[in-house]
Amino acid sequence: MNLLQDNFPTFLQGFGYTLLSSVIALVGSMILGTGFAIMQIVPQKWARKIGNVYVQVFRNIPLLIITFFFFLVVSKYIKMSGFTSGTVALMLYTSAFIAETVRAGILSVDSGQMEGARANGLSFAQAMQHIVLPQAFRISLPSLGNQFINLVKNSSILAFVGGLDLMYQGNMVAANTFDTFSTYIIVAIFYLVITLPLSYYMQHLERKLKHAA
């Protein structure tokens, strides 16, 4: 495993950027996704429409194209690096899926919770924030976890725009050493270090929630 020793800093840097991009995109997409989930359930028809269109658009087009759009088109007007373009694209793309997950979570919270809160004098926003959303997040924790795993995997898209992530560094090492086999195996292991434990934990959570139900 000379390859690993020689290129360890490179892999590690890539790993760092992958993590960084994933975490930023996660936080952003949670906020955006929750926002659009709420938009889809408020009484106002126009808000629902907007929420719905947003989700449908970003769910149904490839992440790669969104990434290119930011990297090549938007950056003409707003300066952004490959890393930023990729991370923003990742955030928007993932937020559509999170919106769907959170919306389903909200709908599965007993409607009595909202009614109880409204009758108790809380405003719609207060009831959402303090009562409905906390419960919705708990219910949808396993699927949110799976979205995060997808997000980490999808962050490999940064490789297409020089995003310095794990996949990008892997390609560079492969191009320099021609030892594609070992390189990609190492890259795979780095990804699995993040995704596999998460994935097992989510399976565990899912089972626990199912038993509780």
Binding site: N60, I65, F69, M167, F181, Y184
Partner: protein, 219 residues
């Protein structure tokens, strides 16, 4: 400049060229869908059956594949497998990589679908004298699949979108061809990106409408 691009980017020959890419996108998708439905079902059932050792083993491999980026798997199949003597033409390398990854994703859906079937259905069938295999084929699978249609279609939508990743190994699918078109003239970039986006959207939105319809029909 942009408006100029809109008119000249879509010459008949560019449009035909992009449509050819769509053909490849659809081709890869359809073949991968069929393969991954078959393999995903088999692997999902193996995991569900809890066979001693074997199910755990298959499940672990499945989890590893499921938790890797598809892009990595594509690079691996096309660039790394030849190192151990497996040479695949680019189209088939893409199909194999996508089918491997999507099978793993579908296996998880199938396993979940099977687990959501009421245990009483098994017991009823077993007590009624049906064998394990018969119970699976005639009672459990039909019920599980009905429930799995919406998540499976979402996964298929992902699959269609993910074919774009094959541009990383220069498969001449639609996104790659889009790049080639705007390599001719950089004012084409916005109209071409929009056109491609629209095609993907229509393709996938169509699929998601089917999912919604199926969900409605089955509920």
């Amino acid at each position: 400049m942009v408006t100029l691009g809109i008119f000249s980017a879509f010459t008949p020959q560019n449009v035909l060229y992009l449509l050819g890419g769509l053909g490849i996108t659809v081709g890869v998708s359809v073949i991968s869908v069929i393969l991954s439905l078959i393999f995903g079902s088999v692997v999902g059932i193996i995991q569900f059956e809890r066979l001693p050792f074997f199910s755990k083993f298959v499940g672990t491999i499945n989890n590893v594949i499921r938790n890797l980026p598809l892009l990595l798997i594509i690079f691996f199949v096309y660039f790394a497998l030849p190192k151990i003597g497996i040479h695949l033409p680019i189209f088939w390398a893409t199909v194999i990589a996508m089918s491997t990854f999507e099978s793993a994703m579908l296996a998880e859906i199938v396993r979940g679908g099977l687990e959501s079937v009421d245990i009483g259905q098994f017991e009823g069938a077993r007590a009624n004298g049906l064998s394990n295999m018969q119970t699976m084929i005639y009672i459990i699978l039909p019920q599980a699949y009905k429930r799995m249609i919406p998540p499976i279609i979402s996964q298929l939508i992902s699959l269609v979108k993910d074919t774009s990743l094959a541009l990383g190994i220069v498969l001449a699918e639609m996104t790659y061809r889009g790049q080639i078109v705007y390599a001719q003239n950089s004012t084409y970039i916005i109209p071409v990106l929009i056109a491609i986006t629209l095609v993907y959207f229509l393709l996938n939105y169509g699929l998601s409408l089917i999912a919604r319809w199926a969900d409605h029909k089955l509920a």
